[in-house]
């Protein structure tokens, strides 16, 4: 059983982004980039399934600029067996990525695609669902537990107010939520080994996919700052305000 894991290169989780003064976007020049944390969870899950003898191969895929190679190496340091870079300088939106991944799924024929539920840069939360739609496969988003069986997967997923368990036919797309697992640290020996694992590069044109963006970003601005509200004199006034003005209790 082959598992395909899409991984995205994003601004590191610990870095505070800054909106550019000219409003064209956020400043990511010289900013530390890392693998999207939800994708790291996806790689970990896939590698665990291979280590448990359920999967036989874990293929990491990244779409984007040349430097996404580093993200693939990071995935291979966690334990992915090989990497595929779909290399382009064009801004990729979720629909385009889903189409690229569909082309790779047609070629690689994975049984499961495990990806992060969303990337922490654009916060779209779309690519997995879109890929499932394009493939005509079932989807199990926001997974907090994944069990692969014969032709089916059982996935516990996080929904508003609790959990639900789905049984989905394979092949399928699963997207990960935070509680699925705690990714391992990439060790130095494994980072060294990852440098020697195979990494193929293809271009969107090789896959016959139109990746033109459908959305134009007109402006990126800082969120409105909260300003100080009012001081209340006592508890009675506070309760009154919360009930009758803010209407939150």
């Amino acid at each position: 059983m082959k598992i395909l894991v899409p991984v995205k290169r994003v601004v590191d989780y610990n870095v505070k982004v800054r909106v550019k003064a000219d409003g064209t976007g956020v400043d990511i020049a010289n900013v530390k980039m890392s693998m999207n944390p939800f994708d790291e969870i996806a790689v970990e899950e896939a590698v665990r399934l291979r280590e448990a003898g359920i999967a036989t191969e874990v293929v990491a895929v990244s779409c984007g600029v040349t430097a996404c190679q580093e993200t693939l190496r990071a995935a291979m340091a966690i334990g992915a067996d090989r990497g595929i870079l779909v290399e382009t300088d064009v801004e990729l939106q979720p629909l385009a990525v889903a189409k690229l991944l569909k082309a790779l799924c047609d070629k690689e024929q994975p049984t499961v695609v495990i990806g992060g539920k969303q990337a922490i840069d654009d916060d779209s939360n779309q690519t997995g669902q879109m890929l499932a739609a394009l493939m005509g496969w079932p989807q199990a988003t926001f997974a907090s537990k994944v069990t692969l069986g014969d032709g089916v997967a059982t996935v516990m997923r996080e929904i508003d107010g609790g959990l639900e368990t789905l049984e989905i036919k394979l092949p399928a797309v699963v997207t990960t939520d935070l509680r699925l697992n705690e990714p391992r640290y990439a060790t130095l020996p494994n980072i060294m080994k990852a440098k020697k694992k195979p990494l193929d590069t293809v271009k969107p044109a090789d896959l016959g996919v139109d990746i033109a963006p459908r959305l134009a970003t007109l402006k990126v601005a800082e969120p409105p700052k909260r300003s100080a509200g009012v001081r209340v004199a006592d508890v009675a006034q506070l309760v009154d305000k919360l009930k009758n003005e803010a209407k939150v209790i």
Partner: protein
């Protein structure tokens, strides 16, 4: 069980010194048609992320290392156009006429850089030459062979719990063995400190003396931006018996680096370098550069300022100290990156010669010899008396150093001496309290909102990397005698005295997650009770071109 791997040369630390050494080793191998395996580890999550410097760079060493650095796209682009040295009093500043300035204060031909970006670029050069560069891994432990020589380092274990147990994510560190190990951890390296003790490297030299440098990066309105202008100030807000000064460097892209250095031999335990820096920015001569701008980044780092007479012995069996790990900074010139690069190159040349001669784990005597006959030695020798003069106070020190440099050209027949910083504090009861103004959130800020901009982060569930040798000392000594100075000298709010609701039962709260790896606590703690060790690799600040 730790895995291990062998290299010809191992370098601990990916700053200018370590990277220059790595690059030089590979260059020499290419020149000689031989091969040499070089591994470099760096505790930051990426190369450059723990670099914090002014910085004005003298390109002399870079010219030697990578003569075509301009063509290779080095982020060294803003040539210095003007030097302004200003003595500040509370309300105004007096500019020192350029003709009166000693040569070491002149920066014609130098560049204003974001040193973190330079390091990142050097890292790319090193990787392109075949150096194995591994950011995210800290040298946690020195390894010795059976003869007592250094045989390498081990990287830290990951996933150890706060209590010191192996957690579910536990991964052991890795042993990196080498014929020679170059330590390039920067000022007050925690392994360098152990090496100095192990091999008595400080015998016969003065104690090292330090400063803490705090820095912010600002984006300013175009009309306030003067690219290439270098401003150095002295005087206000520090009292004249305390060594320190500020800088404002106008970089490219409307960016201004502003910083403040306070000598860690200050005596008043109520002094707060962070707050001095914040109020420094309110001076009319400084404020004028920042108004209408926005603070983008913050950080702090200790620097070694003792000069030649405080430099430890550079070599020991199996390796060498390079860069600021050995105190190569030139405090009088307010720069050290050129010295770091040069020292790395010289050590690399010595190590390469030794490896080529099939030697290993002996003393690289050729390194200190080559240093002694280098321009770097001459430069550091000339300004060696700067810091000791400054102990005489700002005005007398400036006068004496001025005479030393302008009249005697640094060739005075005397060498003045340094003494240790940690025992300089006077009792809190004997010193005036300092009333610092409240931050306004526009020009001046509090510690935590500053630390926020350093992007620092540490896994919470790990042993505290700020170790107390004796847990009673913070209250029994530091609080009782010095009003717990760590609350104020720490630029990241790591140390707090917490009390219970009635205001009694004080205890020291260590917020290790805030640490920006400046090492000030390791230096200034009055009884040397705080031992800074590396946390998990890849943690700490993530500076973006600081």
């Amino acid at each position: 069980m730790r895995e291990s791997m062998e290299f010809d040369v191992l370098i601990v630390g990916g700053g200018p010194a370590g990277l220059a050494a790595a690059i030089r080793l590979k260059q020499l191998a290419a020149e000689k048609g031989s091969d040499i395996s070089v591994c470099l580890i760096e505790k930051a999550a990426e190369i450059g992320a723990h670099i914090l410097s002014g910085a004005v760079m003298d390109p002399r060493a870079l010219n030697e290392l990578i003569p075509d650095w301009k063509e290779q796209g080095a982020p060294v682009t803003t040539a210095v156009t003007e030097d302004r040295v200003i003595f500040l009093n509370e309300t105004r500043g007096r500019k020192v006429p350029t003709g009166l300035l000693p040569d070491c204060f002149l920066n014609h031909g130098n560049y204003i850089v974001r040193l973190g970006n330079v390091a990142k670029w050097l890292g790319e050069q090193a990787e392109a030459l075949g150096v194995e560069v591994y950011p995210g891994f800290a040298g946690a432990e020195i390894l010795f062979d059976e003869t007592g020589a250094v045989k390498g380092v081990a990287t830290g274990d990951m996933g150890v719990t706060r209590e010191g147990e192996q957690g579910p994510a536990y991964q052991p560190g890795m042993e990196l063995h080498a014929k020679y190990t170059l330590f390039a951890e920067g000022c007050r390296g925690h392994l360098g400190k152990q090496l100095e003790a192990q091999f008595n490297l400080r015998n016969g030299v003065d104690p090292q003396t330090y400063g803490i440098g705090l820095k912010e990066l600002w984006e300013v309105p175009a009309e306030r931006h003067e690219p290439g202008v270098v401003v150095h100030t002295t005087g206000w807000p520090l009292p004249s018996d305390t060594y320190g000064g500020g800088f404002v460097y106008h970089l490219e892209d409307k960016l201004v680096a502003i910083g403040y250095v306070v000598g860690l031999n200050y005596t008043n335990p109520h002094l707060s370098p962070f707050e001095e820096f914040q109020r420094y920015k309110t001076h009319p001569e400084i404020r004028k550069y920042l108004e209408g701008g926005k603070r983008l980044a913050y950080g702090a780092r200790a620097i070694a300022a003792g000069g030649l007479q405080s430099q430890p012995k550079l070599v020991f069996p199996g390796g060498a100290l390079i860069g600021d790990d050995a105190g190569f900074l030139n405090a009088a010139r307010i720069k050290g990156s050129h010295a770091a690069i040069k020292s790395g190159m010289l050590a690399a040349e010595a190590a390469f010669g030794a490896v080529a001669a099939e030697r290993q784990r002996d003393e690289l005597a050729a390194f200190p010899e080559a240093f002694r006959s280098s321009w770097l030695y001459e430069e550091l020798h000339k300004t060696r008396n700067f810091k000791p003069y400054m102990k005489k106070g700002l005005w007398m020190g400036s006068l004496l150093f001025g005479i030393d440099q302008k009249v005697l050209k640094g060739k005075a027949p005397w060498t003045l001496h340094n003494s240790a910083d940690h025992d300089k504090l006077k009792l809190a009861s004997e010193c005036p309290k300092i009333d610092y103004p409240k931050p306004d959130g526009v020009l001046t800020f509090d510690r935590l909102s500053s630390v926020f901009l350093s992007n620092t982060n540490h896994e919470e569930d790990q042993p505290c990397h700020l170790q107390l040798k004796d847990t009673s000392v913070p209250i029994a000594v530091n609080l009782a005698k010095y009003d717990a100075p760590e609350q104020r000298y720490c630029p990241a709010g790591v140390y707090e005295i917490a009390r219970d609701e009635s205001g009694s039962n004080p205890r020291l709260q260590i917020n290790a997650q805030n640490c920006v790896h400046c090492k000030t606590c390791d230096i200034k703690d009055p009884t040397q009770n705080i031992n800074w060790v590396v946390p998990q690799g890849g943690e700490g600040p993530i500076y973006q071109g600081m």
